[in-house]
């Protein structure tokens, strides 16, 4: 098991290396120059050149890459001249809202998605099942920005129950924090609720038809025990995969939701950085997100082992 974990961790290195080269190339091939964005399009050539020198953009591209990678190996992701802070600090200061948002959306997805999926599986073909599946189809189909705008219109503008935009940190109180996040969480999480509900239903149906469940039933075990003790655990692997994947999707989806709700998270940071061609920040975030993505996949793989001993055995 230890060797397995070590192997997996080591395999991260080439992945991140390839990601770093790709992102560096894409950014530097894209037209647009941070100096011009900062100085405005009527800046003098001398002023632009002076700033480009200051930003280290006048040295050969491979040298820029080597400098960047060397910095990373020393734990330095670079410096943002627009934000006047290190990229690491920029990412940390924007991480809170995104993490809050992604985790709460995930919690919502799990708390609602799994029970609803189980209920639907239990009452397969009933009106309940059909309406749950109908709703979940709607949940998967509706784009998050549209849902976000509809939510804003109803709860923010018409009813004025919840704020339409902005973000307050948890340090200002749990309710204040939540108040600003409720609509974004719903907008971001509903697709995951739907996905998890559908996956749970399918997975449960498959397991509930297996022989050992029939045996359990014939032994007269209570239906609730069958469903929750015997079936759910075996149905959980595919659900876990979806949960893991959806976490990455949530981080990506946060970019849209954060823009609509004006939440200063990682998603908004990367969009703003692209607009202002803040190369260091774009590179830093993409690398960071790639790392998170790979780590989440690793954790999911390891959790398979926790839930299903057979997975553990296979890797010995």
């Amino acid at each position: 098991m230890k060797i397995y974990v070590l192997k997996r961790v080591l395999s991260l290195v080439p992945i991140l290396f390839i990601v770093s080269i790709m992102i560096f190339m894409i950014i530097h091939v894209t037209p647009g120059d941070p100096a011009t964005v900062m100085l405005g399009d009527t800046a003098t050539t001398e002023q632009v050149e002076a700033l480009r020198n200051e930003l280290g953009l006048n040295i050969p591209i491979y040298q820029q890459y080597i400098n960047w990678i060397t910095g990373i190996l020393h734990g330095d992701l670079g410096y943002s001249f627009f934000m006047r802070q290190s990229v690491t600090m920029a990412i940390i200061s924007h991480l809170g809202p995104t993490v809050s948002l992604a985790i709460m959306a995930q919690i919502m997805a799990i708390i609602i998605g799994i029970p609803v999926g189980i209920i639907a599986a239990n009452r397969k073909g009933s009106l309940t099942d059909q309406s749950i599946m109908g709703l979940s189809l709607l949940g998967i189909s509706i784009p998050s920005f549209l849902l976000a705008l509809l939510l804003i219109l109803l709860f923010g503008v018409k009813l004025q129950w919840l704020p339409v935009a902005g973000y307050k940190a948890l340090s200002e109180g749990m309710w204040v924090h939540l108040k600003y996040l409720i609509l974004p969480i719903i907008a971001l999480g509903s697709m995951q609720v739907a996905l998890i509900a559908r996956m749970t239903r399918n997975s449960m149906l498959e397991v509930l038809n297996m022989d050992y469940i029939k045996t359990a039933r014939s032994k007269g075990i209570k239906e609730r025990n069958i469903v929750y003790k015997h079936a759910l655990r075996n149905a959980f692997l595919p659900i876990l995969t979806i949960v893991g994947q959806s976490f990455a999707v949530l981080v990506a989806g946060a970019a849209v939701v954060e823009t609509v709700f004006n939440i200063p998270g990682i998603g908004q940071l990367i969009i703003n950085s692209i607009e202002r061609r803040d190369f260091a920040v774009i590179q830093g975030i993409v690398l960071f997100v790639a790392l998170v993505y790979v780590l989440i996949n690793l954790v999911v793989d390891l959790l398979y082992g926790v839930i299903d001993p057979r997975v553990r055995l296979n890797h010995k």
Binding site: P31, G40, Q160, V164
Partner: protein, 522 residues
């Protein structure tokens, strides 16, 4: 058992997020309210459409930089609502007989936000830095020098007398803001380290990608004349001012409707009706500047004046403006908007907005146009830019030109426009400048490329004129000629739609909101 483990993990995850949440410190400001009616104090929440790249006024010609910075930092001379120069930190100005020496006596008793008194040395240091950085200064004030005559008097020497010198000092973009000498001297290539000025608001905090927080400057020393434009008596009437960066215009709208924001800036043109029909809102949309079609004159098809004239004979400006600006536009041939009373001119109007397909076809033939592809670069980041481009494309295509729309993000479009091989046409809006000569396309280093000899000669003469009357005459001539030569085609005047809650009083606009002398009732 294992399911319980997952439960534990969930708890750990929740704790993690709680920790992340805690690291996000941010101040809670309570809305202090005063006696009823016209209240003083409180806070004003203003939603602006973009975060400025910097608020160092010398650094950047981006308009949001000036819009924010002018609340904190003041120049010697500024402009009133007619774009005429008026004194600000200078008491007045005096020009010597030969027109080469400007004397600026400073207002005494003006203090910077750090408590230091404003003296001539600060002005000299600031102006020297500004001369180095500003394109406008380098053209209008080439070779100018500043020195302190005594503690409260500054002298400016110019090489050639020109009526444009004072306009350059009063320019609204990349403006000649006065900061303390130490701040200016400590500045690096990326700007000053602290934002300290003499303005009615002082800088408190810049929360990246969220807001800029300004607070009332208690020791502010106002000018003793009525407020007008950026000049006259200024007073911070609210204690706190938050400039919130809200990029998405529908979010700015929803935030205004739900009273999250008191003022919202730069709404989409198709939101105008909804804003105007709302009984709780005041809507302001003063004209902002010209929407124009740019030609790449560096090389290729449009270096030929006949091609440009053909396009001018095709375009139906009314239709383009309607498609891109909704109902808020003004058809006007003057490069300077009507608000610039010193420069407004009808010269050349006979060539403006006169679609004539026969003439266009003749001109195209004379120019030898043979169906070559014309690249019209544009961006969806600003919907009016994209909408104007599609309307222009449609009209040109109907007249037999082969136009391809190339759509990029805004930063890319700007970068492309400075590469002569990458484009032919580009439609974009410009802000009004204090003089029309300051418009970008009269600068041959700008994306549009070189002018012809006649234009350059007229510009040279114009720059050398020493009286407003002479300058106006020459300007009429230059504008009339420009409608033949067509460095650009002006489509129409456009506006920026600003809306505010009915609780807000005293709000004025001059390219963006002016937030001094503005109150909010609670």
């Amino acid at each position: 058992m294992k399911v319980r483990k997952i439960g534990i993990m969930m708890v750990v995850l929740s704790l993690m997020f709680a920790l992340f949440g805690c690291t996000q410190e941010s101040k809670k400001t309570s809305k202090t309210t005063d006696d009823g009616g016209k209240t003083l104090g409180g806070e004003l929440q203003v939603a602006i459409n973009t975060q400025p790249p910097t608020i160092d006024p010398h650094m950047s010609s981006v308009s949001m930089t000036s819009t924010v910075a002018r609340h904190i930092i003041e120049p010697l001379v500024t402009i009133n609502s007619k774009y005429e120069p008026v004194p600000m930190l200078a008491k007045s100005w005096e020009i010597s007989q030969d027109g080469k020496t400007y004397t600026f006596p400073l207002r005494e008793g003006v203090k910077f936000h750090n408590g230091k008194e404003l003296v001539a040395e600060d002005v000299v240091a600031s102006m020297r830095r500004w001369l180095e950085k500003s394109t406008l200064a380098q053209t209008a004030l080439a070779g100018a020098t500043f020195e302190a005559k005594d503690k409260f008097t500054v002298l400016m020497q110019v090489e050639k007398p020109s009526v444009f010198a004072i306009y350059a000092l009063a320019g609204m973009y990349q403006f000649a803001g006065i900061m303390p000498k130490e701040v200016v001297e400590a500045a690096t290539e990326i700007g000053v380290e602290e934002y300290i000025g003499t303005g009615p608001f002082k800088f408190v905090e810049w929360k990246q990608d969220q807001y800029i927080h300004l607070a009332k400057y208690e020791d502010y020393n106002p000018v003793d004349s009525p407020a007008d434009g950026l000049g006259g008596r200024k007073e911070a009437l609210v204690d706190n001012l938050y400039l919130q960066f809200v990029v998405d215009s529908s979010t700015r709208l929803a935030g205004l409707l739900s009273e999250e924001y008191d003022i919202g800036y730069a709404y989409e043109y198709d939101m105008l009706e909804q804003l105007e029909n709302n009984p709780n809102l005041n809507v302001e949309n003063p004209y902002f500047g010209p929407l124009a079609l740019l030609f790449n004159k560096n090389q290729g098809l449009f270096s030929d004046v006949k091609m440009r004239q053909a396009v001018n004979a095709i375009l139906d400006n009314d239709k383009i403006a309607k498609a891109s600006l909704g109902k808020k536009y003004r058809l006007d041939s003057s490069y300077a908007t009507q608000e610039l009373s010193n420069w407004y001119s009808e010269a050349g109007a006979e060539s403006y907005n006169k679609p004539d397909l026969e003439k266009a076809k003749r001109l195209l033939k004379e120019a030898g146009y043979n169906g070559e592809t014309i690249r019209l670069i544009t961006s969806r980041d600003y919907s009016y830019i994209y909408d104007s481009a599609t309307a222009i494309k449609e009209q040109l295509s109907k007249a037999g030109m082969k136009v391809e729309l190339e759509v990029y993000d805004f930063a890319t479009v700007i970068a492309k426009s400075f590469e002569p091989t990458k484009w032919e046409l580009f439609s974009v809006g410009f802000a009004a400048r204090t003089t029309p000569l300051e418009q970008e396309w009269f600068n041959s280093k700008y994306a549009t490329g070189p002018l012809d000899q006649k234009s350059e000669d007229l510009i040279k003469q114009l720059r050398g004129s020493t009286s407003q009357e002479d300058a106006k005459k020459l300007w009429d001539e230059l504008q009339a000629y420009s409608w033949e030569f067509l460095p650009i085609i002006k489509i129409a005047d456009y506006s920026r739609i600003t809306a505010s809650s009915k609780k807000v009083e005293g709000l004025k606009l001059l390219d963006g909101p002016i937030l001094w002398n503005t109150t909010i009732a609670k």
